[in-house]
Symmetry: C2
Subunit: 416 residues, 2 copies
């Protein structure tokens, strides 16, 4: 089944916003096992939208359109699609009533006249109630094709899609598609492929695909079956085999679990607290741990010691170490990690010091980063030579620091 996307909105053509909806919908459709060969962006222009929609209907089974469902005159996705499919617009009392209820008790004294336009729907269309806005989603079917019209704001689009479009798309297919993501840190994409090559080559159901992320590799295992239970049964041994081949490099097989969520979960599981000692990352490492709701249980404070003086004062890095080896050195990283534990009541400290650029530091090159982790009176230090600009070097450093923290816990006596 072939699906394609049309994003409607002049703000996309002007580069005012990034098209995150396309990424979201593409990922969701891939998870459902659908094929996508094309995505298009058009502005709020009747003729060009009609042309793009006609082309899409010809080559795809399902066309998902986002944006252009608002109450203004610029919003014409519904009108254009209905016209192209030859379906008249009719008043929908259900949507009219929902609109009335939405505005009642809102800051508006009365309903803006143009909002009533949103109660008009293509005759026979499935109306998808939108609990987070005034534009309902719409599904039109004709000639064996489906057009799915969704509002553009992501906080309206995502719940509508998950709750109402996913079941619709699942029902269109004779088979059930289910996939699981195995998330890996600490080995590169080609090494992962090498280790899984025979699996990737042999498997037809489930299929296996690898994706490179910054500092991570994700492996998606996708099965097709008659129902969910059977699909899961097909996936289970494959995921198990991947885990056994990649060992501790696998940090998660849970949908939606990020590296920082896995790390915070591991800390919680072992009743450990962590502190951070950051130089070049300047707070981004702690910032990622705090991404996780409830991080306060395992993270109480962190240090940003950008200057040497701060490294000495807060983390007790010795003057002679800084003088002899420099701030970006294995020795300094080691002392930072130790110092973080001693300065707090945390069980573990992960420390980062490096040269993010653009300028190098004497004979030390841009991208040189040391990451240390101290726990149970032992310290582990890793040296990296990252490539890329300042932002990329710092981002990679954060991923490697989170991963070193994870491995230190796993390899410790407590982790076993």
């Amino acid at each position: 089944m072939v699906v394609e996307l049309i994003s409607v909105g002049t703000e996309l053509l002007l580069g005012n916003i990034v098209n995150t909806n396309a990424q979201y919908l593409a990922e969701q459709c891939a998870l459902l096992g659908m094929s996508m060969y094309s995505q298009t962006v058009v502005g709020d222009n009747k003729n060009r939208l009609a042309e793009a929609f006609r082309t899409a209907l010809k080559r795809s089974d399902i066309v998902i359109l986002t944006g252009g469902l608002g109450p203004t005159e610029d919003d014409l996705t519904k009108e254009v699609c209905a016209e192209v499919m030859g379906i008249p617009l009719v008043d929908d009392p259900h949507t009219r009533e929902r609109l009335r209820a939405y505005f009642e008790g809102s800051i508006y004294k009365e309903i803006p006249e143009n909002n009533w336009k949103q109660a008009q729907v293509p005759a026979g269309a499935k109306v998808l109630d939108n609990d987070n806005g005034t534009a309902p989603g719409l599904i039109m079917e004709k000639f064996g094709k489906s057009a799915i019209l969704l509002p553009g704001p992501p906080d309206e689009l995502h719940p509508l899609f998950q709750e109402q479009v996913v079941p619709y798309l699942r029902a269109l297919r004779p088979e059930y598609i289910f996939s699981r993501m195995v998330k890996i840190c600490g080995v590169g994409e080609s090494a992962v492929e090498d280790k899984l090559l025979d699996l990737i080559d042999q498997q037809t159901n489930p299929t296996i695909a690898t994706y490179a992320k910054i500092g991570e590799v994700h492996v998606r295992v996708t099965a097709r079956a008659a129902d969910e239970e059977e699909a899961k049964k097909l996936i289970k041994p494959v995921v198990k085999e991947i885990r056994s081949r990649l060992g501790d490099n696998v940090y998660s097989v849970q949908e939606g679990e990020t590296l920082e969520m896995a790390v915070v979960g591991l800390l919680k599981k072992h009743g450990l607290t962590v502190t951070t000692a950051e130089s070049c990352t300047g707070g981004l490492l702690a910032g990622r741990l705090v991404n996780v709701p409830g991080a306060s249980e395992v993270f109480r404070e962190g240090f940003i010691t950008y200057a040497n003086k701060a490294k000495r004062k807060r983390l007790d890095v010795s003057k002679s170490t800084l003088k002899k080896y420099g701030a970006v050195s294995e020795q300094t990283a080691r002392e930072m990690a130790m110092g973080g534990v001693f300065a707090t009541d945390a069980d573990v400290c992960v420390a980062v010091t490096g040269i993010a650029g653009p300028d190098s530091d004497g004979d030390k090159p841009v991208g040189l980063v040391y990451i240390a982790c101290y726990m149970d009176e032992k310290v582990r230090v890793e040296q990296y030579q990252f490539r890329g600009n300042r932002a990329k070097i710092r981002e990679q450093s954060v991923v490697k620091a989170l991963d070193l923290l994870r491995r230190t816990i796993l390899d410790s006596d407590r982790g076993k």
Copy 2:
């Protein structure tokens, strides 16, 4: 002059990555005064890419393609475009020599055989040297149309575009387009529009447009003229008028200057150093300051005091304040900011404490954030009630904290 984009890459169709290149290029083309009516994404598929490219060549003067210039068999943008335009590929000794030099001194002992493919260029094409990767950019011209092929990685694409494509596009136009961005913080988009309404309505050259960003509003002033000097002359009085109407809310009129760059610049100008005291933002505020190369001159260390105990120990927030008013309160924010200055040798401290959610804290709602700034024995505290999820609340907090720091310096005796 009409330009359109084709992004090439199966990873976009699978939703593995967000198409930030499309946003970047669309914004850049708008800055150059070009019209864009369409953007397309296709996978690494010969026939579909050829079809998309043919369609684009028919309806647009310039087609910019990104991605698919790598050394693997999947990478076929150059091959397909050259074939569609009827231009043969030839060996380019200059690019071959650059490839050789690139791999010399790299971790590779010898040059991977398939990389030589990147030395093949369409006959007569302009070759755009890529200092950040192995794939050069390429410009092909035929039938009065231009195809511009650029590598997909943003850190290769951006410098190539700025340094080599912008001058090329400028030279294609009979008139010179120049624009300047006025960046504003501390007033909402509709308030900015209200203040500039007569200007926006009256002006035809330069034109004025507003854009809402997270915590910021950007106003773009665009002039068309015979040459750069004349365009700048048209823009100057309009920018001056906008500045006079918006006063200190304008933080930059420099191309590419971010809020953190403006803040670090202001600190440098006045010879001030800053420290940070963060709770809910958990390091993201310091992380943004450190985005700026050379931030070490003004930022030496920062505190992440997530737990109450850390607020007391590091920043000397009093136990009774925390007990009486709670961690998320005006009083705690005030003491955090004061404590940051007293604990360090910094001149200024900006502090953030708030509830990022998803859970509220007793009767205090999610999104409640206090931001304080201490300088010259005075402290300023602001209370915010942000909307959105955890990430958005933290992001808005960081912007407001940077802006409060900026205003505190501007309003101080030193800033005057």
